[in-house]
């Protein structure tokens, strides 16, 4: 645990030291705001809630989270520091968790910067703050799932561009897995159970429920198990590279 925190601290310092943190935070806040006001018609809806704001988070994460995740392992491989890191007395699990926790905390920090949206809507009306809180939690969990996928993909390559594109595509398919775009591909030949299973993997379905204020155990379990699964796969990839 101590090592996880030490690695996370180093990673966080790197985010702020390289300017990545500021670029990401500014763009994230600007885009979430712009989407809510111009595309989500925040004012025109005339409702005191943040649905217009949260609704676009999956699409923003699709672009921004793989960008954060792509460097996690690809950069270590490229610069050779992975050899340094993995010959220090830390386990693979500690290294993976440390990096993941730092990136997740950092996205959480960017999410916190959108609190003025919450203040605005409270100033304008009387929103259901419980729903807003669950939406923040849901958004954070979804970011974590995107991040775990990105981290896992990043471990496969030393090329950050490849890591970005593959992770973004995979995330896109998961976001869309409840839609006809993905499901029609399977409907022709796959059994009904499989189609239903794929459709239940949809980020959107789970997230839509959450931002309506329904934070079900199955949605929580969905995001947390996705994170666990991809971080576990991440560990296997790192260990596999050691043996290859």
């Amino acid at each position: 645990m101590r090592n996880v925190l030490i690695i996370a601290k180093r990673e966080l310092n790197a985010y702020f030291g390289t300017g990545l943190a500021y670029v990401f935070a500014v763009i994230f806040v600007a885009l979430t705001g712009a989407f809510a006001f111009f595309i989500g018609n925040f004012f025109e809806r005339g409702q005191a809630d943040l649905q217009a704001f949260f609704q676009y988070h999956p699409w923003l994460y699709l672009l921004l989270v793989p960008a954060v995740a792509m460097r996690l392992w690809a950069e270590e491989r490229k610069s050779g520091t992975i050899e340094l890191l993995m010959t220090l007395p830390v386990t693979t699990g500690e290294a993976i968790l440390g990096k993941f926790v730092a990136a997740w905390a950092f996205i959480g920090f960017a999410l916190l910067l959108t609190v003025p949206m919450w203040i605005t809507v409270n100033y304008l009306g009387e929103p259901d703050n419980g729903v807003i809180l669950t939406s923040y939690i849901g958004s954070f969990l979804m970011a974590g799932a995107f991040l775990a996928i990105g981290s896992c993909i990043s471990a496969l390559t030393k090329n950050q561009v490849i890591a970005f594109i593959v992770a973004a595509t995979l995330c896109f398919l998961l976001v869309m897995s409840g839609s006809d775009l993905v499901l029609n591909f399977f409907r022709g030949w796959a059994p009904r159970v499989l189609v239903d299973a794929i459709s239940s993997l949809s980020f959107l379905t789970h997230f839509d429920q959450i931002i309506r204020g329904v934070i079900s155990l199955s949605s929580l379990f969905f995001y947390l198990s996705l994170i666990a699964f991809f971080l576990f796969a991440n560990a296997i990839i790192i260990e596999q590279r050691k043996a290859a």
Binding site: N3, I6, I7, R10, N13, A14, G17, T18, S79, G80, T81, E83, L84, M86, T87, L88, P89, V90, T91, K242, A243, A244
Partner: protein, 320 residues
């Protein structure tokens, strides 16, 4: 003799290529082992297996008796490792980087500050502590890597080409650092610079195509040279025959080689039987017969010739 590093029939293949083929070696406390070999011989791969970065296909690496693959965390805690090219997090300052390493190595508070300060002082980094590593010169980067490796005063120090690309002053500094620390550690240094072996190593292992082809002190390796302890003599062309026959009459001399005559001087070389020391006899007979000599010296057999001989012989055998 306390064995701190032990490789037991380590083997590693990448696809069809056998990078390391059953390498076994032991390094004891107080030894500085020079790991020699042409590029691609398997030096780095062996070191990566010793430090737990790569998993061997077969065989075991042990550090102070602890198996690297079974108890990696404990084994890694005992090693200081400088990977090839001294990788470091470029965006960190040298000081921040060393503090990070100190924390991971389990030091806190004042102990951490003390360890970092000691490593900085030992490697002469005082001037650049507050600079981001990516802005440092190659020499300083290498020193940051060294500082990182020695920070926890490890029992085993493994360095992959620690002086590669450094200028002569920096090389000298690194070598004296190694010599300073040699007493109570087991040190492995890989290199393809032979002078380095003569300068710092107590023992040299030559590897080629993933196998150990020679193992011994620099002196022992030199003994494998045909010209080891040969006496080279430069004489006036007029005395060449007299000197040659004088040398030929000595019982310790196996053969006398004659070189071409240049600027009125000829080069002669007396090759001893079994590499024994014949210089005193040669000197005695020349003065006895009062033959004038312009130059006389004993050839040690140059290590890089030994190296070329060993690795190319192996190559020939390999292809035969």
């Amino acid at each position: 003799m306390q064995v701190l590093v032990e490789a037991d029939r380590l083997r590693k293949t990448f696809g069809h290529i056998v990078a390391v083929d059953e390498i076994s070696l032991k390094v004891a406390k107080g030894e500085v082992l020079g790991f020699l070999g042409p590029n691609g011989a398997g030096k780095s791969t062996t070191m990566k297996m010793l430090t737990g970065f790569l998993e061997p296909d077969a065989g075991t690496a042990r550090i102070c008796g602890i198996s690297v693959s079974e108890r990696p965390k404990e084994a890694k805690a005992l090693i200081g490792y400088l990977p090839e090219g001294a990788p470091a997090y470029g965006d960190m300052t040298a000081g921040a980087f060393l503090r990070f390493i100190a924390e991971i190595r389990g030091f806190d508070g004042s102990e951490k500050a003390k360890r970092v300060a000691a490593a900085v002082e030992r490697t002469g980094l005082e001037r650049v502590v507050e600079q981001p590593i990516e802005t440092l010169s190659k020499g300083f980067k290498r020193r940051v890597g060294l500082a990182q490796a020695i920070l926890h005063d490890p029992a085993v120090l493994i360095m992959d080409e620690p002086t590669d690309g450094l200028d002569p002053n920096q090389k000298h500094h690194v070598r004296s650092l190694i010599a300073e620390m040699a007493k109570d550690k087991a040190i492995i240094v890989s290199t393809h610079i032979l002078e380095e072996v003569e300068a710092v190593c107590t023992r040299a292992v030559v590897i080629d195509r993933g196998r150990i082809v020679a193992d011994g002190t620099a002196e022992e390796l030199q003994r494998r040279m045909p010209y080891h302890n040969a006496v080279a003599i430069k004489v006036d062309a007029a005395h060449v025959d007299a000197v040659a026959s004088a040398l030929g009459s000595l019982s310790g001399v196996q053969q006398v080689e004659r070189g071409a005559i240049q600027n009125g001087h000829a080069q002669l070389r007396a090759i001893p039987k079994g590499g024994s020391m014949i210089a005193p006899e040669v000197a005695a007979i020349l003065s006895e017969r009062s033959l004038p000599v312009a130059e006389l010296y004993v050839e040690r057999g140059r290590l890089d010739e030994v190296f070329r001989k060993i690795t190319s012989e192996e190559g020939l055998r390999h292809h035969a």
